[in-house]
């Protein structure tokens, strides 16, 4: 079974440019999360999708970040325009639907390392 995959693995862009990160969750997982680790600090929650709906986007830092999950399958996270402080590693995770299995372990992708110069 394929795990959570993220693309690209590494992206270097200039300040002001746009970058789109993609996450393919494990097939059948309703829950999809985005996290990021900036400047070696804690891994911070960004948002949570249940299928195609945003369940919780309280961690999104500002309106330069836009996340979508078309059809409840893969998700994209767009940063526009990128700023220097957006540099970090962006993780995606997925977990099965609720169905009585709350707080099951989330399976994480390998992360996308974003460098804004």
């Amino acid at each position: 079974e394929a795990g959570v995959t993220q693309f690209p693995s590494h992206s270097v862009i200039e300040k002001g440019q746009t970058v789109t990160l993609r996450c393919d969750p494990i097939s059948g997982h309703d829950n999809l999360y985005w996290y990021r680790r900036v400047m070696g600090k804690e891994i911070k929650f960004l948002l949570h999708f249940v299928k195609e709906s945003k369940q919780d986007e309280s961690g999104m830092p500002n309106n330069r970040f836009l996340a979508e999950r078309t059809g409840g399958t893969y998700s994209t996270l767009k940063v526009q325009p990128a700023e220097l402080e957006d540099s970090g590693v962006y993780f995606c995770a997925s977990s099965p639907g609720m169905g009585g299995r709350k707080n099951t372990e989330a399976f994480f992708g390998q992360g996308t390392r974003l460098t804004v110069v």
């Binding site: 999360y33 707080n103 390998q110």
Partner: protein
């Protein structure tokens, strides 16, 4: 408010030594879940263990063991007879019952020297 503290930023041990990684958490919920994840040099986060707040039984899995103490809000992780392949950043995380998102600690970088 939720918070996870991993006071040890970096630890270095020599192969075959035992090492304990500390994790202290804060939460107002009575039902919550604690996790440990490993981030090897390849970058991905690898799930190690999940423990719910009602189960204080310690767990052992091979060379790994976990000590959950609600009285001190700690969930420590011990690696016995460490190996070079154990070198990684280890994250402790907390998830409360009402939500699915995680709060991570800052991580502890473990270096196991040959």
């Amino acid at each position: 408010a939720q918070k996870v503290t991993q006071a040890q930023t970096e630890i270095s041990v020599v192969e075959k030594e035992d090492v304990t990684l500390d994790c202290v958490y804060e939460t107002r919920d009575t039902t919550y879940y604690l996790f440990w994840y490993k981030q090897p040099p390849s970058g991905e986060l690898v799930f190690l263990i999940r423990r719910n707040s009602f189960d204080e039984q310690n767990e052992i899995s091979g060379r790994y063991s976990w000590n959950f103490q609600k009285s001190t809000s700690s969930f420590n992780f011990t690696i016995t007879a460490s190996q070079v392949v154990d070198s990684a950043v280890y994250f402790c995380a907390l998830s409360e019952s009402h939500g699915q998102n995680f709060v991570f600690g800052p991580g502890t970088r473990l270096s196991v020297l040959p």
